[in-house]
Symmetry: C3
Subunit: 157 residues, 3 copies
Amino acid sequence: MRPHSLSRSKPSTVNANTITSSLLSVETRGTGFTDITREVAKFLREAGAREGAVTLFIRHTSASLTIQENADPSVLQDLTTALNRLAPENAGWVHDAEGPDDMPAHIKTMLTAVSLQVPVLNGEMALGTWQGIYVAEHRARPHRREIVLQFIGSAAQ
Amino acid sequence: MRPHSLSRSKPSTVNANTITSSLLSVETRGTGFTDITREVAKFLREAGAREGAVTLFIRHTSASLTIQENADPSVLQDLTTALNRLAPENAGWVHDAEGPDDMPAHIKTMLTAVSLQVPVLNGEMALGTWQGIYVAEHRARPHRREIVLQFIGSAAQ
Amino acid sequence: MRPHSLSRSKPSTVNANTITSSLLSVETRGTGFTDITREVAKFLREAGAREGAVTLFIRHTSASLTIQENADPSVLQDLTTALNRLAPENAGWVHDAEGPDDMPAHIKTMLTAVSLQVPVLNGEMALGTWQGIYVAEHRARPHRREIVLQFIGSAAQ
């Protein structure tokens, strides 16, 4: 489909010179979504980030990352329902030694994201108004999850 | 599964020195896919991009990004059908204040991509022959969608 | 959901100066997952990678990338089953000129990843203990698949 109309701002360029990394640990409360947007913003402030991009990488195969609406909590509730329908428990999975929620958790991880990248412009993530960054816990019980945060770009001193 | 065979080209290295960013606005025509490949290529030419990667980030939670076949339009038609089957309307969603197409749109966004990264080699995106970059509009009505384009790498003057 | 607790390591910063790229070719054996983790690690050693991130980009629309559990092979078997259920053959697809496995392969590609980014810390990918990087072949027959590997960051001489 041809776009109805397209417009694009004049490209702006800076020198890239720094990479700053940090490990974020999140204790989840079991199945559901944990908003980490503020923590990523705090990391970028500490790093003196100006222009570039922040990469998020989750070091797990039964929890994942997603960017979703941060306004109405019922969206997150419905996303959980949707994932349960797409990857139900007791659906004849071969891998069941770690409990009925384990294989569905791997499938949900495959269908969402293990790595995300968000541009940083003038020191702020270029998120839309309604976008929040979430860790999605797919196991039933609470877990400690590790996310690598990494800024690549230009930084203030 | 062990690969049948693996081969890899000799790594080539350049200095990374620039980050160039631009905001692309796309007016969609409602549900469906809009090809933005040429516009991203134009951005890279304007930026003088040589070696590096271009990141695409969509600033919305009811539209998303995907890289798909650009040859037969019926592929895009079937992808729409597939997403409608995976995230149907009127499926008992709690979040329905914004219309029956809204919650399915969030689910479709979660199942596809909010950020993509395409390597740039010798000034060109390293896309395969049949790969096009698409904005996927998941709402029924037309929307104005914003995509941040960002090149990180080496650039000509 | 508020996180139960959050902690984050002190950010560490280095200078970014190099981009190293390589093309990895993988001959798949037909539908299933091929572990390329070691090959990516080998690429990073050859590149002298220290701190930064490696991007993987697959140049196809009927094969994709995913990071999944590398311990129990039955996980990969169940992931194949799950993808077959989400994108079945003979489900009334319009695009069927290339065989019944072709359109499902495009859908499976859309639901997984075409690009991945893994942080590199102290010369090693920051993968979790159970994470392996896989090429997912979605066509029934063997194919030769190309993946661009690209390291951005600081490198030893």
